[in-house]
Every structure is written in structure tokens, then in C-alpha cells.
């Protein structure tokens, strides 16, 4: 797996699944990527994976606290949920949480600027 894939990979269990068992690939463009850059828009799942890597021992308490404060469930793929989560994280007294949010905000801003000027494509669902 490439470095980009390792940094951006979202575990399958974090992806939104519809009532018919199909994954929601079109919710607010969450599953789109800027093809020339191979950059997918960050999601709540990307944030979760970063925090799992950064605070493995405290992850459950940190994550559950963030979900409660931001009023989300943790499996959303829409932009609004991501932005609510990042806002809560940015204001967090936990320094690693705030840094993680700052990094994801740069990734989101990168996606926004690049997708405005380059073609995007739907990300292939995992097998």
C-alpha cells in the first residue's frame, strides 16, 4: 500500500452503508477524488483513522467525547458532519486532537481548491 493510501485509507467498517446494503457514494461528493492528484475528500472516517493512529490508548474516550460534542454518530460521510467534527476538535484542549483537525482542514482545503479546477471522479467502492 502506498504512503498516500496508508494516510488516507478509511476502514470499510467506517463507510456508510444504505438500508439495501449498498454504499452511499454520492452523499455531498464525499466519495469523489481529484483524479490528477489522486486526492479524496476527507471524511469523518479519515479523522477517526488518524486519531486511532495518534491516540491508540485513549482513542475510545477521545472519539466518543468528540462525537458527543459534535452531535454526530461517526459514520457520516457528508461535509457538514466533517466540518462540525473539525470545529470541535480545533477547540479541543487535547493538543493532538487540535493538530489532527488542523491537518485534516488543510486536506479539505486542498481538495476544495483542486476540485474547483480539475476533474473529479467517483471513488471505486471497496471489493
Amino acid at each position: 500500500m502506498t504512503l498516500a493510501a496508508k494516510l488516507a485509507h478509511v476502514p470499510a467498517q467506517n463507510q456508510m452503508t444504505g438500508s439495501d446494503g449498498t454504499q452511499n457514494l454520492t452523499d455531498d461528493g464525499a466519495r469523489r477524488t481529484v483524479t490528477r492528484y489522486d486526492l479524496a475528500r476527507p471524511t469523518v472516517g479519515h479523522v477517526r483513522q488518524s486519531l486511532e493512529r495518534l491516540v491508540p490508548e485513549d482513542f475510545d474516550s477521545v472519539w466518543n467525547g468528540l462525537l458527543e460534542e459534535s452531535g454526530i454518530h461517526g459514520f457520516e460521510q457528508d461535509r457538514e458532519s466533517l466540518e462540525r467534527l473539525l470545529t470541535v476538535m480545533t477547540l479541543s484542549v487535547h493538543p493532538i486532537t487540535a493538530i489532527c483537525a488542523r491537518a485534516q482542514a488543510v486536506r479539505l482545503a486542498s481538495f476544495d481548491h483542486l476540485s474547483a479546477n480539475h476533474p473529479t471522479a467517483e471513488v471505486e467502492p471497496p471489493p
Binding site: T2, Y37, S50, I96, I99, R107, A109, S110
Partner: protein, 185 residues
């Protein structure tokens, strides 16, 4: 930049960090905590870092110079000269494209004289799409030994860097690190 001439040492391309080394360095939480203590959004700090990058770019004769802080999944540009376009607007880039991340992972100067020929960087979209043709960066090492980011120059054409270039970059990097320490709490 200082023109390499007969008798002038030309710095060779330096090895890039492996993906495992990059991930280990970028997710070092002690390092990230130290970055978190820097008030990198302070306007006075940014103004001083911008001034250093302008001087570095001028001394080395290159169009772009940056000060970056490399986080776990992205690099922040906290001081810059000559940067425009989407990287300036976004305030950084994803970490997987960051040249500076290699200086952070190794703790050593990272030199890429010709990005298009470099086995690690030739497929980087900052090279293939945005046109970064050459790079030299020095790590920003804190008093406690953590590498927070890098001070670098970027060229639009392939070129060699002399030992004098890297000395100038390193001296400016020391200034940058002293400033970052001044704005840490």
C-alpha cells in the same frame, strides 16, 4: 542561487525516507505536541518568517522559499515567499506530497536537484502537475530534538545546489527555529 563552479562542492541528491520512516516520524505524538505549542498563526511570526523566506529565496536565486510545519497528514505553510495558487490558498498540502516530510523523517537536509528524474518524487503531483523541478530543505530541529518542519527553496527548473547554498539555507533555518521557539508557549 550560488552558481556551482570548479572547486565548488555540489550537494548530491539525498535519499528519501521510506514510507515506514515517514509514517513513524509524522505520527510521533511528542513531536506533534511540540508543534501544537507554537503560535504559528500569530501575524508577527508570519511576517518575520515571510521576511526570512524572501531573503533565502534572494540569496539562493530561486523563486520560492517556504517554512513548513509537518503534521500527521498535512504540511502547514507558516511562512513563504513566491508562493501562489492553490497551495497558498489552502495553507499547505497533504503530507504524502510533502518534500519537507522527508527532511522531517531523516532529520537531515533533503536535496532533489531534478524532481522529474528522482525515483521518489517523479510521480508526485506537485512535480507532474504543479511543476516543482528542484528542492532543497533543511530540518527545523527544536531544542528537545524534535523535527517540527523544514525551511526550503523550490525551483522551477532542475539545478544543482552548492555546499554554499545549503550553508545559507541552514543558517536561515537556525533563525527560523529560534523564532518558532520564541512564539512557543
Amino acid at each position: 542561487m550560488n552558481e556551482p563552479s570548479l572547486g565548488t562542492t555540489v550537494a548530491p541528491a539525498t535519499p528519501a525516507a521510506t514510507p515506514a520512516e515517514l509514517i513513524a516520524a509524522l505520527t510521533d505524538t511528542d513531536r506533534l505536541r511540540e508543534i501544537g505549542r507554537v503560535d504559528f498563526a500569530h501575524p508577527a511570526l508570519k511576517a518575520q518568517l515571510d521576511a526570512i523566506t524572501a531573503r533565502t529565496a534572494s540569496e539562493l536565486g530561486l523563486p520560492i522559499s517556504l517554512v513548513t510545519l509537518v503534521l500527521d497528514t498535512a504540511q502547514l505553510v507558516v511562512g513563504s515567499h513566491g508562493l501562489d495558487g492553490w497551495i497558498s490558498a489552502a495553507g499547505g498540502t497533504p503530507a504524502e506530497w510533502s518534500f519537507c516530510a522527508h527532511a522531517v523523517a531523516s532529520g537531515e537536509v533533503y536535496v532533489v536537484p531534478d524532481s522529474a528524474q528522482d525515483p521518489v518524487q517523479r510521480d508526485n503531483p506537485l512535480v507532474t502537475v504543479d511543476g516543482i523541478a528542484s528542492y532543497a530543505g533543511v530540518p527545523l530541529v527544536s531544542a528537545s530534538g524534535h523535527v517540527l518542519g523544514a525551511h526550503c527553496v523550490i525551483g522551477a527548473e532542475a539545478q544543482d545546489f552548492s555546499a554554499a547554498d545549503l550553508d545559507a539555507l541552514a543558517r536561515a533555518g537556525d533563525e527560523v527555529m529560534a523564532l518558532l521557539a520564541e512564539y512557543a508557549h
